[in-house]
Symmetry: C2
Subunit: 335 residues, 2 copies
């Protein structure tokens, strides 16, 4: 260490300034360590630099730095089926002893025999029956506890890991990086809003009030002089496809600056976001990694990415090649 | 100034520390200068001190410090009728040249003759006709501009001041005081969400994503390859009475720590808030000041406060006596 500096500022002050310098360099060198240095990472960093540089032509004030993220397939995995559906199946099993009639009644009978495919053969009607029986009929406080207990203990059928361990490490870094640059990060998911809120703050650093999703109706009631909100078996809002920009408008009330998705369910959110005036950024996570995860796109029944892949080309959205762009996939693989 | 201090730190540094000290003392002495030192002010300050004192039994982490405010009659005035209704009446006049048929058609004919009472004699149906014709049929961007233009130029029929000058100075101070103490402030209004969002950030420091209100449905459409959201003449959600806790749950997803209202429309929000576990705070603004504003409660058709006044007693909510508790009413009266 330079003796003149040590003398002028004292040892402690010099140490602090050196530490600060080292930290700054480390951050500047790699804010996204789990991303390989490809086009996707470069596009993200260049965009953030552009909109956060005060006085520059593309500068955007912090209040307008809204970034929206799809959840299933974008922030965490979604195969072999949406995790919320796996939650519903677990709930059917847990509730079965109180419903002996389910042994004879579809879609429950098939489910309880372990025949998921057979249960879902009943199409949208069967799916809705399963969702409503497992998601409605209790108070909001009760449902929150059911979800919190499940997410703390349930494990994924293939990886045998907790579902919250199947979030994508590069996206966790991206969320933190955007927040460090003054962005407010939101989830905009086709999944159930109350299925996500109990754990998004802990897992993603996204508080409940920044989660948008599909919902069922609730009703205010007084029970023994105490107010409760009861979950009704009635759809309130489907936050998917054209519903995503509608949901963003309903809850955020302004157009995002950046939007991140992985399937055609995110197409309209990306269109709406990137059609805004001034700089905008759209990104699609393309599941190309059959070895570390799953590879699927145009022909998948879950997380189908078909039109989105074409529009990304036409509209200049960034496409993440999961296999090539992501050095690390899950947090536990981090070195 | 003490010469030893001046010598040790240099004049500039000493000046800064003295200024900082003076500012701190001034803030500590009176965070709410437009509130007289009565029970209401004392209750607010005591509650905030209690929940923000780290290590204390009632400490609440910043993430859970949610405060919800009704708008009409709580943050700004609401007489002689809700300002959004005055907006709608102004819009009917502005649109009349494009609708010659309105000269013969109620409720528009009465309105255009200046007979508001006659127009509203048609009850809910007439009101809905007026709201839908003035609030639906355009894109969300177009409506935002209509509201922004109106709020910038329209004046109140009695005071002749801009509507945004009829916000309550004590409540502006309260909003700022809570935010300085780590609270996130939300509006939860029976009024239209898109009628408020264009100006709440500027006037109250509350960003669009922290505004909850009544809404009509919107629909995503592609027009010449550009995505738009079109406002439909169809109610989506009424954020009033039992709708307020439902709206809070929908958009915030957690129970507020503090809630502020002024009418029976806020009753369920106050019940829901103060029924939560741990410390909670409910407050009702009672319009008692016929001289500086309007005095009304149990028998008013606008902002009726009847059950709320009784429940405040029973449940220990703070009641603001506008005449006695508020030293200053509007910002322009500030000395």
């Amino acid at each position: 260490m330079d003796r003149a500096i040590t003398r002028r500022f004292g040892t402690a002050a010099a140490l602090i300034s050196v530490l600060a310098f080292v930290t700054t360099v480390a951050q500047a060198a790699d804010p996204l360590p789990s991303w390989n240095d490809g086009r996707a990472k470069q596009a993200i960093v260049a965009f953030v630099a552009k909109v956060t540089k005060e006085g520059a032509p593309d500068f955007v004030p912090p209040a307008a730095r809204i970034a929206t993220f799809d959840n299933d397939g974008t922030l965490w995995a979604e195969q072999p089926m949406y995790f919320q559906l796996l939650f519903a199946l677990d709930r059917v099993k847990a509730l079965a002893p109180q419903h002996p009639e389910w042994q004879e009644k579809e879609p429950f009978a098939s489910l309880l025999r372990g025949d998921v495919k057979g249960a879902l053969a009943g199409g949208e009607r069967a799916m809705l029956d399963i969702v409503m029986i497992t998601h409605a009929g209790m108070t909001t406080d009760e449902f929150e506890k059911i979800v919190a207990d499940w997410i703390a203990t349930a494990t994924h059928p293939v990886t045998k890991r907790p579902y919250t361990a199947m979030v994508y490490q590069p996206m966790l870094e991206l969320l933190a990086y955007l927040r460090a640059n003054g962005f407010k990060t939101f989830i905009v998911s086709g999944g159930g809003i109350e299925f996500m809120r109990p754990w998004t703050e802990h897992v993603y650093g996204i508080p409940p009030e920044q989660v948008i999703g599909s919902s069922i109706k609730t009703q205010f009631e007084m029970r023994d002089g105490k107010p409760v909100l009861v979950r009704l078996p009635e759809i309130d809002f489907i936050d998917d496809k054209t519903g995503k920009p509608v949901g963003i408008h309903k809850i955020i009330g302004r157009r995002p600056l950046m939007a991140f998705g992985n399937s055609d369910g995110d197409l309209q959110m990306l269109q709406w976001t990137t059609a805004g005036p001034g700089p905008r950024f759209g990104l699609i996570v393309h599941h190309t990694d059959a070895e570390r995860e799953w590879a699927y796109d145009r022909h998948s029944s879950i997380g189908r990415l078909d039109k989105g892949l074409d529009e990304a080309q036409a509209r200049g959205w960034t496409v993440v090649d999961m296999k090539g762009d992501w050095r690390t996939l899950y947090p536990h693989e981090k070195k």
